[in-house]
């Protein structure tokens, strides 16, 4: 699969690294070049695997290969930026599968109702914590 991931924080790094180890073709965008230091060296140094971009300009998304992407994942630490990029991937670039990280559970539900596949790390984390605390 061709996967474009926006956001190379802790979550982005995990996702990108795992997909890459599975043999998928991955491109990751982040506005801060240093973020890519968390990636495995071999992947980081691979031509075209990382692009310094906040994922807003269409030109940069195209450079990242969004037109050939099977999956677009928006996992930066900003909900609104993720929502904009993910909706752009879905409605403008017609990427078949789009997943968006939204911290705020209330907004996550709203985007889900609008047909955007979203994951709320807040909800997932608190559910896991509750599970381990409650008998």
């Amino acid at each position: 699969m061709n996967v474009v991931v926006m956001g190379c924080g802790r979550i982005g790094t995990q996702i990108v690294t795992a997909l890459w180890k599975e043999g998928h073709s991955v491109t990751v965008l982040d506005s801060v070049a240093e973020s890519f230091l968390s990636l495995p060296k071999e992947l980081r140094e691979k031509e075209g695997s990382t692009i310094v971009s906040d994922g807003i300009l269409e030109e940069e998304l195209i450079e990242a290969g969004i037109n050939q992407a099977d999956v677009f994942v928006a996992v930066s630490n900003r909900d609104n930026r993720n929502a904009l990029a993910a909706q752009k991937a879905k409605h403008i670039f017609n990427v078949p599968k789009v997943v968006c990280r939204v911290g705020d559970p209330e907004r996550q539900e709203m985007y889900n109702r609008l047909g955007l596949a979203t994951v709320s790390s807040t909800k997932v984390t608190s559910a896991l914590i509750l599970e381990s605390v409650l008998p």
Binding site: D79, R81, L84, Q87, I92, E106, R107, M110, Y111, L114
Partner: protein, 220 residues
């Protein structure tokens, strides 16, 4: 009408004043406490500090009973999130937003934001309206139904770098002087080359002036 404005910057502030003076009930949400204090000082208790795309903040601002929500922050994603929340969570009938990246216009339309104003496009439209189709030319009537025309050669003109002999002028048209950018007069000859920002002075018959402008300023 009850109008909620997200973003109390320059645009938001003056918009609030205009809407307020027109007799509307206005409420402003902004993340900056200094701006909020300023708004309250000017218009009374009509501003709240907070993230305008946060459900609890929109609820506190009474977005549920708003007739219109207007997003004016400088970040497109925040404007979009505020409009989508207002529309789909609080059922606001009309959402209006400013966008900064003109590329976003199409997406915002698809996503159901009612009015999308692109500041870049608005500026461009205003500038284009001000700019004449050709570079400004000075025209002086001369005896015999002639005109003396002075025109500055635009950067992208097709005659830049071309020798005078190779320029096809309209009939009865003579170049009488070329003043270069630094103000010095170029000596005229068939080999004289026209450069960007040269001011070309020519004498032509009145009905050929337009054609001359065309020759000297059309993009190459």
């Amino acid at each position: 009408m009850y109008i909620v404005v997200v973003g109390g910057g320059m645009v938001g502030f003056h918009l609030t004043r205009a809407l307020f003076n027109a007799g509307h009930e206005v409420f402003v949400i902004d993340t900056d406490s200094k701006r909020v204090a300023e708004l309250i000082e000017h218009f009374g208790n009509i501003a709240l500090k907070g993230d305008g795309s946060e459900p609890s903040i929109q609820a506190a601002a009474g977005v549920a009973r708003a007739d219109i929500l207007i997003a004016t922050t400088s970040t497109d994603e925040d404007n979009l999130a505020a409009c989508q929340l207002a529309k789909h969570r609080f059922n606001v009938p009309k959402t209006v937003t400013l966008i900064n990246n003109p590329e976003d216009e199409n997406l915002f339309d698809i996503l159901g934001v009612d009015v999308v104003l692109s500041s870049t496009q608005l500026l461009l439209a205003a500038i284009e309206e001000e700019l004449p189709a050709h570079s400004p030319a000075h025209v002086l009537p001369v005896r015999g139904n002639r005109e003396a025309v002075a025109i500055e050669i635009p950067m992208n003109s097709g005659v830049v770098g071309v020798k005078l002999d190779d320029i096809k002028l309209p009939p009865d048209t003579y170049i009488v002087a070329i003043v270069s950018r630094d103000g010095s007069l170029k000596s005229l000859g068939g080999d004289t080359v026209i450069e960007t920002h040269d001011e070309v002075v020519a004498v032509t018959v009145a009905d050929q002036a337009e054609a001359l402008l065309e020759v000297l300023s059309t993009e190459g």
